[in-house]
């Protein structure tokens, strides 16, 4: 019997495709539904943030860092502030560090809510997205009360933060946490442990621990592959050594370690850990005097030298490399972001996947287009 002839076809996915999480394009070569080759094409959201940094003062660049990753802007704020603090040897008061932890962990939850909701939606479940966004909405309100903005926060400052928490804020957050923790259980029943969802994602696009390290995956993507490593523990920056929390990792509970479900699961667990951190931080922040929120800054911010600072962002180890040459502006600023390296693995992992599974892979890596392109 003659075998059926198949022709490979070229398929253009994006740049305006709802499941590519922003303006990203993939050029696929497929044999029917099976991908033979996938070439990501990025850069549509390139705004030359690193070049802009060379034209702004150190403090003046802070609002631009919001745009590095606008789903989790707090981390780029913190990263830029830490790099400048390291460069200029600026101390950060304890209270400011706690406010940073609070703002960042709230932002981590809200960013993970987008990641989890969008991933469920990408593979066909619409309801979880609305549930997740409900929680994110509360967090946006809290952050708005903290700094006046809901998306591009511009909250952190070199040496501290811009505002202390308002009156009654702590109780509001605590009340919301009382609702949020059971809501995560509900969320798990709704989608995470849902049979259809598990079967859809288990054993899909497995990334081994070796591959994850080799490609420079960071954060939940790295931990999803079973590597127990978190910068908040490994580097003990800020006040994280004073806080208790676990590092959730993927264990292959539903399939193989490092599959799409593991990455989803790690993010669910991280939300719970962040909630734990928030409770402790809200408890401990008053050990430090009110309104002591900015450290002593140098009279002139014209540093000489270079520094590389890292923070654990919602999308993993974010690095900022800043070089000063005695001017009021940075000579060079560079952001190393989790989404950029996560995109790098897609070309290697996609041959053999179904087109629909590529959507699951992209969603499970939680790439955010502005963070890739900067």
């Amino acid at each position: 019997m003659a075998t059926l002839q198949t022709i490979e076809m070229e398929l253009n996915m994006g740049p305006q495709h709802p499941s590519t999480h922003g303006v990203i394009r993939f050029i696929l070569r497929t044999d029917g539904e099976v991908i033979a080759e996938c070439k990501p094409d990025v850069g549509y959201l390139h705004r030359s943030i690193e070049k802009i940094a060379e034209l702004c003062t150190y403090n003046g660049f802070m609002p631009y860092t919001d745009r590095v990753d606008y789903v989790a802007a707090m981390f780029a704020n913190e990263c830029w502030a830490s790099a400048c603090e390291k460069l200029m040897d600026v101390p950060v008061p304890k209270r400011a560090s706690y406010l940073r932890v609070l703002s960042c962990e709230l932002n981590r939850i809200s960013s993970h809510m987008i990641a989890l909701g969008a991933m469920a939606q990408d593979v066909g479940a619409v309801t979880p997205f609305l549930w997740a966004l409900r929680e994110r909405e509360h967090i946006n309100d809290f952050i708005e009360e903290l700094c006046g903005a809901r998306l591009t926060f511009n909250y952190h400052r070199i040496g501290g933060v811009s505002f202390d928490m308002p009156k009654g804020w702590r109780d509001k957050v605590l009340r919301w946490l009382d609702d949020f923790e059971p809501a995560m259980e509900e969320f798990d029943r709704l989608i995470t442990l849902n049979d259809i969802y598990v079967k859809r994602l288990a054993d899909v696009a497995v990334i081994t621990a070796e591959e994850a390290k080799d490609f420079g995956l960071v954060g939940p993507n790295l931990r999803g592959s079973g590597v127990k490593w978190d910068l908040r523990r490994a580097d003990s920056y800020s006040v994280y050594p004073e806080l208790e929390f676990d590092i959730p990792i993927g264990t292959g509970e539903m399939g193989t370690t490092g599959d799409c479900w593991d990455r989803f699961w790690v993010r669910c667990q991280e939300c719970r850990e962040s909630a734990k951190i928030l409770r402790q931080a809200l408890d401990k922040i008053d050990e430090h005097p009110e309104d002591d929120i900015v450290g002593k800054l140098p009279k002139k911010m014209k540093p000489q030298g270079e520094a590389y600072a890292r923070v654990e962002s919602a999308r993993g180890d974010m690095g900022c490399y800043v070089v000063g040459r005695g001017g009021a502006e940075a000579y060079r600023a560079r952001f190393r972001t989790g989404s950029f390296t996560a995109m790098g693995i897609i070309e290697a992992k996609s041959p053999g996947l179904f087109v629909a599974d590529l959507v699951a892979l992209i969603a499970s890596l939680d790439v955010v287009a502005p963070e890739i392109d900067r």
């Binding site: 070049k51 080799d214 030298g305 520094a307 590389y308 190393r336």
Partner: protein, 161 residues
């Protein structure tokens, strides 16, 4: 392990390929010859005392008439970090690709090529990544002049209208 000890370890294994140690900066760094960068990074990754299994960042920095390619390395296993720098002249910015050591270097090197024009020999697919393929020049170089046109379209504004 401190960068001073890393420098000693590397010098003991590779000799002249390892340049000076710059310990006076906040993050001490080691200068490496462009021709030796692949060997050096491979030793960095495989030596049991170093084990740099994570290429944290790779980027370019303009240094007047030359460009520094800066490698930030980190070891998950041993939890130490270091910085390597390769200096390449601006008119012939050629170095070797480390994609064979860490596959994650692929996109970083494309980015450095795009924004600084550094060519990485041995890179499997060295083309622009963030900017369009027909872009002229490498914007993060200090001598770069902002273009007034793109694709025949004027992008300057006349505010006197």
């Amino acid at each position: 392990m401190k960068t001073e000890e890393i420098h000693q370890t590397l010098t003991a294994r590779l000799g002249d390929a390892i340049g000076a140690l710059h310990a006076e900066t906040i993050d001490p760094w080691i200068e490496v010859q462009a021709t030796a960068i692949v060997d050096v990074t491979r030793v960095c990754k495989e030596d049991p005392a170093l084990r740099f299994d994570f290429l944290s960042s790779l980027c370019g920095v303009d240094a007047g008439d030359s460009i520094f390619v800066v490698y930030h390395l980190y070891s998950y296993a041993l939890r130490h970090s270091t910085v390597l720098k390769v200096k390449v002249p601006k008119d012939t910015p050629v170095t070797r690709s480390v994609t064979g050591v860490w596959r994650g270097a692929d996109w970083f090197e494309r980015e450095a090529y795009d924004l600084f024009g550094v060519r990485f020999e041995g890179h499997p697919d060295l083309r622009r990544i963030l900017l369009p393929d027909d872009w002229e020049g490498h914007p993060l170089r200090k001598e770069y002049v902002f273009p007034s046109h793109y694709g025949g379209i004027d992008n300057t504004r006349d505010y006197n209208i």
